[in-house]
Subunit: 215 residues, 4 copies
Amino acid sequence: MSRSEPSSSAQHGRTGRPRSAEADRAILEATRAALVELGWGKLTLGDVAARAGVAKTTLYRRWNGKSALVVDAVAALFDERLELPDRGSLRADVEGVIQQFAALLERPETKTALMAVVSEATRDEALRGRIRSAVVDRQKRLVIMGRERAQARGELPPDADGEDGRAAAAHHVDLIYDVIAGAVVHRTLVSGERVDAGWAREFTTLLLAGLTSAP
Amino acid sequence: MSRSEPSSSAQHGRTGRPRSAEADRAILEATRAALVELGWGKLTLGDVAARAGVAKTTLYRRWNGKSALVVDAVAALFDERLELPDRGSLRADVEGVIQQFAALLERPETKTALMAVVSEATRDEALRGRIRSAVVDRQKRLVIMGRERAQARGELPPDADGEDGRAAAAHHVDLIYDVIAGAVVHRTLVSGERVDAGWAREFTTLLLAGLTSAP
Amino acid sequence: MSRSEPSSSAQHGRTGRPRSAEADRAILEATRAALVELGWGKLTLGDVAARAGVAKTTLYRRWNGKSALVVDAVAALFDERLELPDRGSLRADVEGVIQQFAALLERPETKTALMAVVSEATRDEALRGRIRSAVVDRQKRLVIMGRERAQARGELPPDADGEDGRAAAAHHVDLIYDVIAGAVVHRTLVSGERVDAGWAREFTTLLLAGLTSAP
Amino acid sequence: MSRSEPSSSAQHGRTGRPRSAEADRAILEATRAALVELGWGKLTLGDVAARAGVAKTTLYRRWNGKSALVVDAVAALFDERLELPDRGSLRADVEGVIQQFAALLERPETKTALMAVVSEATRDEALRGRIRSAVVDRQKRLVIMGRERAQARGELPPDADGEDGRAAAAHHVDLIYDVIAGAVVHRTLVSGERVDAGWAREFTTLLLAGLTSAP
DNA sequence: CTGTAATCGAGACGGTACGTCGAGTCTTTGA
DNA sequence: TCAAAGACTCGACGTACCGTCTCGATTACAG
């Protein structure tokens, strides 16, 4: 799913030496380490290969460039880190989401990598898709989940029925997601300020007023 | 202020041949053109120099790398394009700001460049400062102005007096700025969707509810 | 022996793609052609690489600069062109050697290159060694051979026996070599006159009188 | 005579600020110093100008390139150093000439510069002329003088009368000059050995036998 | 004493080449 | 067939000098 040749099962003939699974792990690990040390701009595939104890050939056989590799490398972090325990109220859940986004963005490997691949993606449709599935969709899932819980609690009105209702709901989720993720990203990376508990609370207050007042 | 040697006033002696102002103009223009055609990733300083009819040396004498040059090149757009005519109401002003940010971000030169330099800036304090003064401050000015107008109209409560009041106001501006700019940037560049009139209206509705309910 | 990494035998591991022998040939050939067309001063390694159909990197991987490359390029000529057929008498052999040196020095590639690398060598011990083995030794071999033949014919007295004898012989060879090669080089390159048959004869007369009178 | 614009007398109008004679001196001095430190290859005109406390412009106004400047700079040495006191015999005079040539060539500035400009001169007629008048003719004068003295002493036969005689004499001088200068240059720069008293004596012996036996 | 005309320093200018580096590809030997 | 090693082509990098140019500031001699 994340490889240039979807390594899922042995697509490529069944003879010959099989690909080392260990190599995959080592490469992604090395990529993250290199990202932390050098940042996106100075990261080189030759260096990653050397750190992973792997030949450059091996690396290119599995990914087709710096961007693809880095997306996969940071995608792994999104898998591990994003979950949303029920904190009992909409406000608590929103603050939780904000904190999780912020925690992820304050890790040095994501901080430097995320905007870089987003930038690359402005000219690369395939990369855009990869980012969507590896990053955006996983984050958006949290928004969806939090919204459903709030509706179940009665903190937010339920979705309208029918096709239009579903579309409006999706629309609403997109808006909320862009506002939350955007504000956190912007504060962290552009304004260059930390997302602390105080800011999270103020932002949540602003947001909840908006969400609960007008439908 | 925007050069590697802040050319503001004649810092570098008064003797010797003076730097060509025409060259500056041509270089920034060429940089924007190259950004549109090639995008950040493929943009090379050699190519920019060639387009500007200027030697590479001249370019390196004034800026110290791709990032710094590109920041200055897009900063010029922020100068030209950002203004806030009084549209008569807070809602209209907010929608106006959103549309302006979005229009700027949908230009191909900013779309490809902005996140790239933000990414570079995560490892470069000087670059961060340059972005702040060339981009962030110019944008934030609009937020401040819009807020003051709304206070004058009575749409928003006035700032509290004294030192604490000023600090709280600045704090508030920062929050609003990150929310607006962040949401627009995220929708445009990460989610990859257009900011149309409908979205601008919905987002404004969300935001105004937040701004006007709880102080 | 002539490379920066003495490629003689597989010094650099046995794995990996081996260096292309064809590239070597093409580079030296291109170097000579460029020397003829442009002369030492205008010769650039980038141009040589282009002529040879080879990347600059390849060239720098094998030689460490213009001088080293040029020495190897002209050394090949010294290999091909210097031989000493037995012409039956010392006089004839000496004239033969002189003509061969002169013919080599009048080729445009050697004419422009030789003094240039000698000049560089005044500040570069490694280059000096390279010149010695690639040029000087090959020329000196001819002097040694001619001298032995003359001794065999009885035109010159035999070497004295023992350690001292061998040292004196080597000494003598060095002197003769410097006189012959020096006179030819100086006439050709410094005085800028041709070495024609007449000059060769007169010089030989002068030399033979010196060689045969006082031992 | 040695300048690009033969500064001999005021060719260039008589008004305007006159050229600084001090600058000339300082530049030539700086050139020699730079030659000693850096050698021909690393010597740059910018550096010379800086050492001389002079603008690059000044330098280019008087000479038209590295080669011309260096020829003039070393030519001054030839003026000071070459003279031939009468040592009473042909042998002594020849050894004297050899030692003088050798002493000149062992100075680091001439060692590195001489062959370099000779190499440049292979492609530059004007430079060749400049070398001839600044170097070759001055050295050859010594050979001529020594030969005349020897003829006066009766150690060498007098020149034949008439046009042919003069031509033959000039011819002879040229041959001797190339042999002496060539041997010394070659030993010093190519073979890389010192010219000590022993070598000078042996070479003289060889040469005198040749000069005195056959006419 | 006042132009006029060439010099001087400084340093920016358009160029050309440098030698290095990274991206990807290709070609070996060995598992 | 894949893996490691490393040579390959290509293209950009940022720097160094080149030789020219434009400045403002000095000199000298001519009127």
